[in-house]
């Protein structure tokens, strides 16, 4: 894996290499180079299986960490490619032409995080939420509890706070 990383580093601007269990490598790539990096990984190095595309919201750093996980079926190794993009104007190159399922992942990310992938088919159609008027709900600054209290009414109930209850029951001395 390290050799692969060094080879890739000659071509692409990569940093922050990490290896878990010898088969799971992760590094950070540049936003502009991502599509060519993934094409390279897919066509030359055998990482043909796109496992997932997901996003981590680093609210404190004002960054979105887009994460692409690709898998190689021959030596059973994974590569986690992370791309940090600006949180205020999130825009990313689309990978729907590399994998058919890419458009589905991107559609969901567009809906849940508000990241736009220009050219990705059907990304503006609502996929999961219907008639949603709030901010993209998976962003960290969206307070789902506050939203619930404002929109739905809770039935009054006689309930024990599970945390306190468990604390009393399991760890009375703590």
């Amino acid at each position: 894996m390290e050799q692969l990383y060094n080879n890739l580093s000659l071509q692409f601007e990569l940093n922050d290499f990490m290896l878990r269990h010898g088969t799971q490598a992760s590094f950070i790539a540049k936003r502009e180079q991502l599509v060519s990096l993934l094409t390279n990984l897919r066509d030359i190095h055998g990482y043909t299986h796109l496992v997932m595309v997901t996003c981590v919201d680093w609210l404190e750093d004002k960054l979105f960490q887009l994460t692409y996980i690709v898998h190689n079926h021959h030596d059973q190794s994974d590569i986690i490619v992370k791309v940090l993009i600006d949180r205020d104007m999130p825009e990313m190159d689309s990978i729907h032409h590399l994998w058919e399922q890419g458009r589905v992942f991107q559609r969901e990310l567009h809906e849940m995080f508000g990241i736009s992938f220009p050219g990705s088919p059907g990304q503006d159609e609502p996929m999961i939420l219907e008639g949603w008027q709030g901010p993209p709900p998976m962003r960290r600054d969206f307070d789902t509890k506050e939203y619930c209290e404002a929109n739905y009414s809770n039935r009054e109930r006689d309930s024990r706070e599970p945390e306190e209850h468990m604390q009393r029951k399991l760890y009375p001395e703590d």
Partner: protein
């Protein structure tokens, strides 16, 4: 286990409250300022004529002995709408198979709302499903009964802070019987159906009339959460 006391008289859901003093920098419209404007309030006029526009009226009962006989027939031939709205639907399958076999009680799943009498709400109800539930419920012919299975339909259950599920289904459609648990065992669901039968025989399961009487209240609640109201208001 089964709770039939429903507070139908509670007030409509409180509005979003006045949080407009909360300035926000997001480029997206602020959900806190929601003033009940709908993105799509009903269908265009030219399509409205395809649907009935008469409001529902509470149905009259017939002469009591006849009504008793009809209630007996209704109670012994419950046709469940086969709409698995949530994870509770997975216990509907054991219910129709040999272990529990609801068909010996005269019940069967029915795939079209027109012919079904019982709506089994199987657990949590997301906003997108709620719209279909309302529509299916209105297409059912009365007297129609609703059995809310799982805690999530009663008070939100473990999704009490989820932005996409409603917390109380009885604000949107009238519920006759609740079955608590997550998930309730098939026996509990069976007990719920037995309770429903008792209610029907006693003539107490009048959810359809309640829906007609408090129609505006229900519609107001529905429109409050279903922002994409792309369906006719009345469709029987």
């Amino acid at each position: 286990m089964i709770d039939n006391e429903i507070n139908y008289d509670s007030e409509p859901v409180a509005n979003a409250g006045d949080n407009s003093s909360n300035p926000t920098t997001s480029a997206y419209p602020d959900w806190r300022k929601d003033d009940n404007t709908l993105t799509n309030a009903g269908l265009p006029d030219e399509e409205q004529e395809w649907f009935c526009d008469a409001r529902p009226q509470p149905a009259r009962k017939s002469w009591q002995p006849i009504e008793d006989f009809l209630n007996w027939a209704r109670a012994n031939s419950l046709w469940i709408l086969a709409f698995g709205t949530g994870c509770g639907a997975i216990e509907l399958r054991p219910l129709v198979t040999s272990r529990y076999d609801i068909s010996r009680l005269g019940m069967q799943p029915r795939p079209t709302p027109r012919q079904a009498n019982v709506f089994m709400i199987g657990g949590y109800v997301s906003i997108k499903t709620l719209k279909r539930i309302v529509r299916s419920y209105e297409q059912m012919q009365g007297p129609k009964f609703v059995v809310a299975v799982c805690s999530c339909a009663i008070n939100g259950g473990m999704y009490w802070d989820s932005y996409n599920t409603v917390k109380r289904i009885d604000e949107y459609i009238p519920v006759d019987v609740y079955v608590t648990g997550c998930m309730p065992r098939p026996e509990a669901v069976l007990a719920g159906f037995t309770k429903l039968k008792e209610l029907i025989k006693a003539g107490k399961a009048e959810g359809q009339n309640l829906y007609a009487e408090k129609f505006d209240w229900y519609k107001e609640n529905q429109k409050k959460v279903i922002k994409d109201w792309n369906m006719p208001d009345y469709n029987w």
